[in-house]
């Protein structure tokens, strides 16, 4: 048996499913599709999602329903985001995630309910990067797990993935700077709301591109505070725990742009 993990970071806003609205959306969506081709080339067997839009409050949650399907209407973007979904859960990976979480002393809940509202981010990501409907697993983003605990969660995800044969893609679904517009805008004029956020995002992405993990570590707190980064960069913490942020590895930017004023990027871990 041999196992391997590859890594990616994708945005999860439904605007990416409307590439005709803005060139940024088209570029980001296009990069996600290239990612899907990379997955195919790498013979990916399953995708493990960690989305900062699937929040849990009392401990951790892991999707355990073998087939998760339905239609999700986004609570903000309901006028263009009625999203059909049909996930086939890799129940072996989900069970391992639960076991490893318990071994780590975390309170964890297996989610297996008809009508459970899968978050917009995971659905959008899955539509773009998983055209062959590979099996998936989903781990929630616990509001009360801090950065350090989220690294541990990433490490248990790595451990769980490594017990399975074949390639697992660990995909975090998250944004960068989080300063969205609070009024209606013309989609065509969407841009990073604050130029300083744009600078910060680019600085952060440059460090990830170089695999300069000490620079990333040094800028993390300031970046989060200055640019109101999505969920305090828990997505990075998860990747770090899962083994993406080690010497010799990097996260290469495939596309960068704005979605309703926020920063968004598609990144692929170097192999």
């Amino acid at each position: 048996m041999s196992s391997k993990i590859i890594y990616a970071w994708v945005p999860g806003l439904p605007h990416l499913l409307k590439p005709e609205l803005n060139p940024h959306y088209a570029e980001l969506a296009g990069a996600c599709k290239v990612l899907a081709e990379d997955f195919k080339r790498q013979n990916v067997k399953r995708i493990l999602y960690y989305s900062t839009q699937w929040l849990s409050v009392l401990g951790q949650s892991v999707q355990m329903r073998p087939e998760v399907k339905g239609r999700h209407v986004d609570e903000n973007w309901y006028d263009f985001a009625s999203l059909d979904f049909n996930f086939k859960t890799d129940t072996a990976l989900a069970a391992k995630l639960i076991d490893e979480s318990r071994d780590m002393g975390l309170q964890v809940r297996a989610v297996d309910y008809d009508g459970f509202p899968v978050d917009t981010g995971t659905i959008v990501a899955n539509r773009l990067i998983n055209p062959d409907n590979l099996p998936t697993a989903m781990y929630s983003c616990c509001v009360y797990s801090d950065y350090a605990e989220t690294i541990k969660i990433g490490s248990l995800a790595k451990k769980a993935s490594e017990t399975l044969d074949g390639v697992t893609a660990v995909v975090v679904v998250s944004g960068l700077s989080g300063r969205y517009f609070t009024t209606e805008i013309d989609w065509r004029e969407d841009h990073i709301r604050d130029p300083k956020d744009d600078e910060w995002n680019k600085k952060f992405l440059a460090a990830l591109n170089e695999g300069n993990w000490s620079a990333v570590k040094n800028m993390k707190a300031d970046y989060c505070q200055a640019a109101k980064v999505d969920m305090g960069l828990k997505a990075l913490a998860f990747l770090e725990g899962a083994g993406a942020c080690v010497s010799g590895r990097s996260m290469k930017t495939r596309a960068y742009g704005s979605v309703y004023g926020t920063g968004a990027a598609v990144m692929f871990g170097s192999i």
Binding site: L55, V73, Y78, S82, D114, T182, K228
Partner: protein, 305 residues
């Protein structure tokens, strides 16, 4: 009823009507799939007087402002005549999987939308018939009127105070209240308002007893200081001392992460014209440590015009 019946509209009462899904779970109504051995009776029974009041007043509409329909761009109102479906709480799916069916007063929704815009607010009508109504809206409405025989309007909570800063959008909630009041008056509705929020909102980070969520031996206030804050605020509201309430609001939000930050209570008080009348206290209880009170502003037989 149509907008031609001008000037007869009035707000009959306003309710602080918290929405922990545990309350529906504890009651075991047929609409909710999970079943319990009870729990949180102190709060659940506090809603009895509200239910009686709905039967007596027979309002045309209940309007609820819910912190769990969070919108990033402005304030949204449900605007589909009939909404139904299964609402599974993403946070507490083991407690709340509720089959809802509600009639929405779309005419009133549209006028609230228009009045809000006239006051400079960003407003939006939610017209997607497949929309899954949030559990905050459903729990509050169920606890107030489990028969669901009164049309409703639901208003989203703009999440700018959470994302940017506590005081951001508080002015907007006041304007939203004014817009709601004007819309009620214009459409001639006899309305009851509901602010669907807890008071103190710091809570446990783990479920105290995952095997038995309704284990009341494990339920308690999060902290003494949080409890004291809640009592201080309840006392002010009971006295009708809204000046003191608004004065201490920033500190209350900061120190207890009070859910009133979402704007529900500010909206409701503004809609009622910031009435300095004693609010009636019906009950208080903790749910996973949060502080919840059921309180009523009875605007009198004549209502507030």
């Amino acid at each position: 009823m149509s907008t031609s019946q001008k000037s007869s509209g009035k707000i009959l009462s306003g309710w602080l009507a918290p929405h922990p899904p545990h309350l529906v779970y504890g009651e075991n109504p047929p609409q909710n799939e999970p079943k319990s051995r009870g729990g949180w009776e102190g709060l659940r029974f506090a809603y009895d007087s509200c239910r009686k009041s709905m039967k007596t007043l027979k309002p045309d509409v209940i309007i609820v402002h819910s912190p769990h329909w969070q919108t990033v761009v402005g304030h949204h109102v449900l605007c589909v005549p009939k909404l139904s479906g299964l609402s599974v709480d993403p946070i507490f799916p083991h407690l709340f999987r509720y089959h809802f069916s509600m009639e929405v007063d779309c005419e009133l929704s549209r006028v609230i939308h228009d009045e809000g815009r006239a006051l400079g607010l960003t407003m939006k009508k939610m017209e997607n018939p497949e929309f899954r109504v949030d559990y905050g809206t459903i729990v509050t409405l169920h606890m107030m009127n489990p028969d669901w025989d009164i049309p409703v309007v639901a208003i989203s909570a703009n999440n700018s105070p959470y994302f940017y800063d506590d005081d951001v959008a508080q002015e907007e909630f006041l304007k939203l209240g004014t817009a709601t009041q004007k819309a009620i008056e214009k459409t001639g509705r006899r309305a009851v308002l509901a602010a669907s929020c807890t008071l103190s909102h710091l809570h446990f980070a783990k479920e105290p007893n995952p095997e038995l969520p309704e284990d009341m031996s494990r339920e308690h206030v999060m902290s003494q200081s949080q409890y004291e804050w809640d009592m201080k605020v309840i006392e002010m509201l009971r006295r009708g001392d809204l000046d003191s309430y608004f004065k201490c609001l920033p500190a209350f939000m900061k120190e207890t992460f009070a859910e009133v930050k979402a704007g529900s209570l500010t909206w409701m008080l503004a809609a009622m014209g910031v009435p300095k009348i004693p609010a009636k206290f019906h009950g208080y209880g903790s749910v996973i440590g949060t502080g919840n009170a059921v309180m009523e502003w009875d605007l009198g037989a004549g209502g507030l015009k």
